[in-house]
Symmetry: C2
Subunit: 132 residues, 2 copies
DNA sequence: GATTTTTTTGAAAAAGTTTTCAAAAACCCC
DNA sequence: GGGGTTTTTGAAAACTTTTTCAAAAAAATC
């Protein structure tokens, strides 16, 4: 139905990235895949993640500590990024659809999507700080 | 007043990045600076941009086509990124401060900042498409 | 203003990501 | 299922960014 998904390795990459809610990085996916395909190239992982992103099966959420992080929940929602441990969390709701129309009027553009990210200290990291 | 700003080159980098509203990339700043200091290293530009970011004189707005883009308007506002030409535009208002408190309740985190980016086709790129 | 300490720099290495290109795998048609 | 076409892959190069480290520049001390 959803167009192409040919090779075994491509299917495995998609399976792995869907297997977690931790918003994994390419390196994390690579390390998981290597248990199944020890000869896979890191370039193949990057290439397929980019492909999934282009086809809408995947979304790039944020770059945390230099690493791009992905999300297979493609319905629009916001994210929280912990600036201490790098954890990425999903947020309920937070759709700025009405703002999209406002932005279109403001600058004459055609808005297709938007991204909302909150930064701070996650609950776990706050606990650790408190016990110092 | 605002702490350190020692070397000539550092001052020049800050002057250049402040001289435009185009949300420049490190490479763009480097190319400008080289007209004044032909022997400057690209690493010095990256290093100082990172320093300005840390000290709050500068903000990292988005990564467009693999390049980080900067803004010296540090008061909170949203941005629009054209997915065709890569232009980055400032948006009026759009502060989600009340949402910050909601997010804190939702996940128990301490939110310090947030980022809002709209993606689509800018006015210029829409015109060009229409004339195809 | 010379000496010592601290900061900043250039060059090169390293890290994350993308691209190139020839070989391998998957697909298509008969 | 064999032969030709298209897609996908691994390896290596290239690109953006960060880090390392010794040398140069700036600041502080005398």
């Amino acid at each position: 139905m959803s167009a192409q998904r040919f090779s075994k390795k491509r299917e495995a990459i998609y399976r792995v990235v869907c297997s977690t809610t931790s918003h994994p990085s390419a390196k994390w996916v690579y390390d998981q895949i290597r248990q199944e395909y020890p000869d896979i190239s890191l370039a193949t992982v990057y290439r397929n993640l980019a492909l999934f992103k282009e086809s809408g099966q995947l979304v790039s959420v944020a770059v945390v500590d230099g690493e791009e992080r992905f999300d297979t929940t493609v319905s629009p929602h916001g994210h929280f990024v912990c600036t201490l441990c790098g954890e990425v969390l999903d947020l309920d709701v937070l759709r700025l659809d009405s703002f999209e129309r406002e932005v279109e009027r403001q600058i004459g553009a055609e808005v297709e999507s938007h991204s909302v990210i909150f930064y701070g200290r996650c609950a776990d990291c706050r606990c650790m700080e408190a016990s110092d």
